[in-house]
Every structure is written in C-alpha cells, then in structure tokens.
Symmetry: C2
Subunit: 401 residues, 2 copies
Amino acid sequence: MNRFFAERALGMKASDIRELLELTQRPEIISLAGGLPNTKAFPAEQISEICKDILKNDSHIALQYSATEGIRQLRGALVDYMKSSFHVDGEVDNLIVTTGSQQALTLISMVLLNPGDLVLTTAPSYVGGIGAFRAFQAKMDTVAQDDEGLVIESLSEKLAELKTKGIKPKLIYVVPTFQNPAGVTMTEKRREEMLELATEYDVLVLEDDPYSRLRFEGQEVKPVKYFDYEGRVIFLGTMSKLLSPGLRVAWMLAPKDLSRKFAIAKQSADLCSTTFSQFIAYEFLKRGYLETHIEKIKAMYKKKRDIMLTAMDEHFPEGVTWTKPEGGMFSWVTMPEHMDSKLILMRAIKEDNVAFVIGSAFYPDGSGKNHMRLNFSHSSDDKLNEGIRRLGVTLKKEIED
Amino acid sequence: MNRFFAERALGMKASDIRELLELTQRPEIISLAGGLPNTKAFPAEQISEICKDILKNDSHIALQYSATEGIRQLRGALVDYMKSSFHVDGEVDNLIVTTGSQQALTLISMVLLNPGDLVLTTAPSYVGGIGAFRAFQAKMDTVAQDDEGLVIESLSEKLAELKTKGIKPKLIYVVPTFQNPAGVTMTEKRREEMLELATEYDVLVLEDDPYSRLRFEGQEVKPVKYFDYEGRVIFLGTMSKLLSPGLRVAWMLAPKDLSRKFAIAKQSADLCSTTFSQFIAYEFLKRGYLETHIEKIKAMYKKKRDIMLTAMDEHFPEGVTWTKPEGGMFSWVTMPEHMDSKLILMRAIKEDNVAFVIGSAFYPDGSGKNHMRLNFSHSSDDKLNEGIRRLGVTLKKEIED
C-alpha cells in the first residue's frame, strides 16, 4: 500500500509510548505510565442528572449537528471562565470549542505549518504536540527547561542563532504550568520575557494549559495569554482533566484572524465537536458544579502526589532525582546520564511488574534517555506506593549492574 | 496574520454554503438547505435510559480516554452490523471509529494526499469531501453522473485520458447510494464496473455511505465494499443519520495497511472520539433499538419525500426537473442551462422567504450553477409543502423575467 501514501504519512509512526503501553496491559502490572485522570474524579452522578435534563428538554438541539465553532452558550460560559479563573479577557468570536486539545494542536498545525517550518519546543515537551507538528512535517528544535520552566537565555540564544541562519520559527510551543511531562511551572517573569522575545523575533506562542487549575500549593501563576497585549498567543484549555476526558471538550482562544482559519480547518476536520458533550460541559459550568468539583480533585491528587514523593524518597536510589510539582499529574525523574530508560522499562515490566513512560518520547530528537515520566493521578493510593517501591527495586538493580 | 499561514491555509475559505446559510437564520425563512436529520427522529428517551445505565455502571470507562481506534465493544458491534446490514465481512482490526465521517475524510486526505495529487469525484459530489481534499491541496477532476450514479464511460474515458498525460489519480470518491446532493443511487453493475476500472488503473475507491439504510422503496443495492475482493475500497459508515449526528459516531472500514496509518493520523487528530458517545451507540446497537428506530425514520422521511415530490409537481414551472430518490434526504433540481441558482437563492431569500443550497457548492470547479439541492428530512410536513410552494413562486418569476 506504500504507493498510495502521502509523503507526510511515511513519517507517521506509532509512538514509542503507544507500542510500549501495549505491554503494560497485563493485570499484574502497576502502570504509572498513562496520563489519565483518576476515574474516581469523574462526577458521574452530576453528569447523569445533567444528561437526564438535557435529553428531556433540549434533545432536539443536543443530539443535532451544531456550529463548527461550538455551541454559543458553552463558548460564552468559557469566555466567562477564562476571565474568572485565568484573568484573561476573551471574546466569544475568538473562542473555538475543539474535540480535545489534541484537535487544537492539529488544527494549528494544519493552518500554520508548511513542511519544513520550524517549531520551538522545550526539552522535554508534550508528546501529543510533537506528534501533531510531526504529522504536518514540521521541523522541531528545542530550548532548555529547568525547574522554573523554559530557560529564557536558551530561547534567546536559539532565536539569535536561527536568525543568523535566516530561519524564522513559526511557533514557540509551551505547556507552562505543571508541564507534561516534567511537572514544572514557568515563572511569570519568564512568561513575560518569553513574550518579549516572541515579539522581537515575530513568532507566535502556543500555550497549552490542561493542568493549571489543579494547583495543590504555592502561588497561582497567570497564563502567558494574560500578558499577551499584542495578540500573539494561542491559548488551549480543556475540560479533560477537570470534568472528563471521554467527553472530548476543550477550547482554543486565539487572535481573531487565526480563529477564522481554525474554524474553517475544523469544518473539514469533524464539522463540529460532539454537541451532547458540549451541552454537558455547559450545564456543569452553569450549575456551578465545576469549582466544587475541582477542590475535590485537588485534594485527591495532592494526597497522591505526597504519597509518590514520600515513596520516592524512601525507595529510589542515590543519584536519581525528580521534580516536586505543585500541581498537575506528573513528576519527571532524572537518572545518571549513562542510564537508558527504555532498557529500564523493559526490565521494570519483565522483572518488577511496573511501568512508566520513557523520557525520549518527550524529546523531538529522541534524546532524554536518562529520564522517565511518572503519573500520580491515575493509580489508587496503595498501587502508587507499591508501584514506586517496585520501580525503586528496578532502579537499584540497574545502578548496581 | 497572513505571514504565519501555511500554504494550504491560504486556500481555506468558508464554503459558499456556510456564508449563505447565515442568511437563512431568520425565523420567517423556510430552509430546505441544511443536510440535517429531523429532530423528531432522535430517540431521546432511549438515549436517556442508556445514559442513566452507562453512568451508573460504566462511568469509570465511559468518561475516560479510550483507544484511538474506538472502544472494542463498539468496533465489534459495528463489524457485526456491517455483516448483517451491508453483507460486508470486516475485521475489528480494520475498523476505526471516527468523529463523524467528516473526520474520516480528513484522515484519508492526511494519509493519502500530497499537494497536487488528483482525486476523481462525481459531478456533483458531497461538499464535505471536496472541502477535505481541498484542505490538503489535492486537485480534483470530475466524472459524469446520471440517474444511475457515476457514469462508467465517463470514468473510463477520464482514466484513459489521464493516463496518456501520465497522471494517476489516488482516489475515486463516491457517495453511491442516495447521493448527497443528487439523491441518485449507483446500480450494482456500475459498482462492479467501477471497481474493475479502479483495479485496471490502480486507484483506491472511497465509498461514503451515510444514507443507504434509509431506503423507502426499490431494491436494496449492495455497497461497493461488498464487491471489493482485492482490498481497494475504504468504506465510511455513520450513526449520524440513524441515531444522532450530535454524538459524532461514525466508522471507517479500510484495507489493513491503510487502517494502521489512519489510526496514527487519528492519534494526532483527536486522540480518541468521544468515549461516552461510543458507549451510547454501542448500547443502542446491543439493545436492538437501531432496526426498529430505522423503520420509524424511514416512514417519517418517505412521507416527507412524497410531500416534496407532489408539491414540486404542483408548483414548479415547466423546464425544471428533479431527481426522485428512493431514500436518503435530498432531491436535486435541474433548471434551464442559463439560470444561476446563486441569483435565484438571493431572490428566494429576499422575496419569498425560502432557502436551498446552490448547485455550484457541489462541483469542485464551481460549475453546476443551474442546479440546487433540496433537503426533505429536516422540515415539518407543513413547512416542506409551503417551502416548495414558495420556491415555485421564485422559479416562475425567474423564468418569466
């Protein structure tokens, strides 16, 4: 069938994560791999009540096709939510509901990226972003990241270096708060400095923010979009980590001229996102359930993070370090340089029945082998503790070998 | 913002339909334009019962992320459905759930079409297919269509002519049963002959079939996929016209090597389709509700088609002809060559408060000006009759002028 494929399809490969995750489906394995919310964090009863009401009163619109940009009432509610929870002034016309933030990543790639165009990401960066950019044959180059997020000096040097080569990146892609995979958060100062550089070099900024509402401690940090006086930032928000990923309700807030094109691209992509899900999300917001529910999730995940960090202190060998996220769902583990997380994963699965995601999945160039991503949101408290204990066993064996 | 757009985005324009439909939102307008199911055809009570059960028993999986290819139980049920209702043997591994058939059209374009690649469509053809191919910068060429669907001689000549020019099309795109927009159905003989030509010239066939289960009369025709001994046909099916378009549940059945790539492309596109919707569709099938429900829709739409055809006989002037579909949702009207449906639409909206879709929307080259598409599924019986009466008034004025 190869003769039929477009060039972009030749480079489409199942991600490392995907292939490896298939190995982790055995019931005896404790998986700290997936980036999944905890199923106990789904407000099933409230959704059930909402579904009943929608299907009684609004089925003629909730089961019908809807506007490509999203149903008007949800877009309005999300604009209000952007204001109340993110301090961002948006307009309904610039907000588009998407089928998960993943769709937004693809629409942005469709509209902005020619084959060979350059996207700057942090190293590491979110695997779904990398996948979308790659599917449209973009090139990627990376900027350093530390415990305070993207490193400004690294970005500044990279942009200057690219300019001398006559290369102008299209996008800077960041997950600035409780990053997937590293769990780190960019300071407000860096956010402002990043935007200044983006202006100086005329690059768009793509801010992907699935996690910021899940802050357990520390001071709230305003989104990059808050500092966007110019209209240079595309903001991605989602209900996936707060309400339910299975509803596939997310949104993008973008400068006006971009929004129009994104809407046209979305028309080709799926005509509209699931109308019924949009009604559920709207009612969940309107009935005031979201904020109470977020408090519940935060309490649940904070406890899990604490369990994980405590267990790592107890079980992980010397020479291994990890981030201490103030929110979100992930911690990022750094092992001695010579260690290869892919080999460690094989051993962890085979010998110790525990799984994680290898670091290289989060580097566009496949480096980052001495890292791994651990998820603390999905497992039960007991399994989390036991999973870290097992992984400690694997790591000690590897270091001793 | 133009400096940021990819080349493919420069050609992305809001469709004529979209712009014109905005004019038809006034309440006094009777719209025969949209391709929407009737809202009375939504089984809200059954869906409500199903939602209650899912959220009671399966919320931990129904509200979670799910496999990119779709939930296993729905894929299995759809394979059974392909066998029982389409006489097609499929395998679960080759069937992918999509976010509406529109997403399948885009995934296919992503995976198969380089800029400049050629797609053959009938003239007219479905506007959503044209939009998806165009978004990936494909070229399109057309093949004639008559009351028995795609004209084989036209396809044969076109393929031979292209061959002499050294051009090999990638895809033949057909909506072979109760076509959108024309309402016509390809005979089985032509389906087989089309496939023979596809084999001879080594072209893939894309069969888009949203309507075939909505047959009011006449003999059932087997899908093109039924005759696909070689694995050359991609079949698109959907729940949108049978259960609800707002759930966004459709599927594609494709040759194996293609399916794998489509799944990878879908991973970038939206990770997974709405899990909750997939559970609803699965339960609707499993509980045996679908077949009874289809009978109800067919009775409803047959009556509407009869109302429309009778009203056209009564109100449309001489020189205007139309197709008499045995199922589906559309009739296609042909006016004298010199008439321009765009001008007629302006007049119909302004003077007579009735709307339709102009023919040129369904021609990749923008021809087809003397045609219009009329939908009979969406309006109430009374409005349908009155809408046709009004349109008759507009047409008579146009012909007299």
